[in-house]
């Protein structure tokens, strides 16, 4: 590899936590459906990063890569399904805000 790679678990763990907090905050602090999806995406990327780091530090990169490839496929399907739901929601309620639903209460 061209760059020097630190071996410390804690460094990678800090960045994993930072990314996770960023994604969670984004998902929780917004009323817009699309932005919630962006927060979810950031969350999934954080966990992808963590899986690769776990594979690197434990020497099991092949297993970790196989898992990450599957996770990326899942990510794509989830985004496509979420986009479809957002479109349907928009057509029904004419707004992308979760405050504007009229139907389910209680």
């Amino acid at each position: 590899m061209l760059i020097e790679i630190p071996q410390s678990f804690w460094l990678y763990f800090i960045f994993f936590i930072l990314l996770m907090v960023d994604g969670l905050w984004c998902m929780l602090a917004t009323y817009n459906l699309l932005r919630m999806l962006i927060g979810l995406e950031v969350l999934m990327k954080s966990v992808t990063f963590f899986l690769i780091v776990a594979g690197y530090l434990s020497g099991r990169m092949a297993l970790a890569q196989a898992m990450v490839i599957t996770v990326i496929v899942i990510e794509v399907v989830v985004v496509v399904a979420a986009a479809g739901i957002i479109l349907g929601f928009f057509r029904k309620n004419d707004s992308l805000s979760i405050r504007h639903t009229r139907d389910l209460k209680g």
Partner: protein, 164 residues
């Protein structure tokens, strides 16, 4: 400050930009940038196949999906965006400060962590692992792609009718 640390800091900054920006198209671009940076990080750690997939699929396909959804749901006049900005800011401005606090705080903590030792014979090739050992995973991927296809059939048609 190794190059890897700089890359990771850039990654977090890009993700921060994706969460905090007010215009959705900019958020999509920021998300694509995050994916690209993540792919570079993964490549440097040795995960070449996963990095390529992340770059092409996440920075490519997902951005296309996002942009098409944004263009199909664009309705409001621009004035509303300006008034929205201020309320957004009130909910989001603590985020960078919180992140820096967590980062600095955690870097002073030290928890001894026991990690398992690498296998003596090396791990093997990704391709062998994926095709020979984890065939169930491949089957599962096919299944979830099929579910996605049916999802597209259900959700992306024209004006639908009520079912019952």
């Amino acid at each position: 400050m190794t190059l890897m640390t700089i890359l990771l800091v850039l990654l977090v900054i890009a993700a921060l930009w994706a969460s905090m920006t007010t215009l959705l198209l900019r958020a999509t671009i920021a998300l694509a940038l995050t994916s690209a940076l993540l792919a570079v990080v993964m490549y440097s750690l040795g995960a070449t196949l996963a990095a390529v997939l992340e770059l092409s699929v996440c920075a490519g396909l997902i951005s296309v999906v996002f942009v098409s959804v944004i263009s199909l749901t664009q309705r409001k006049p621009f004035k509303e965006y300006v008034t929205r900005r201020l309320s957004r800011l009130s909910r989001f401005w603590p985020l960078p400060l919180v992140l820096m606090a967590i980062g600095l705080g955690l870097s002073f903590v030290h928890v001894p962590v026991q990690i398992v030792l690498p296998l003596p014979g090396g791990d093997g090739d990704v391709r062998t692992v994926l095709w020979n050992l984890r065939q169930l995973d491949l089957f599962g991927q096919i299944l979830i792609l099929l579910a996605g296809v049916f999802g597209v059939l259900v959700l992306f048609k024209g004006e639908g009718k009520d079912v019952d």
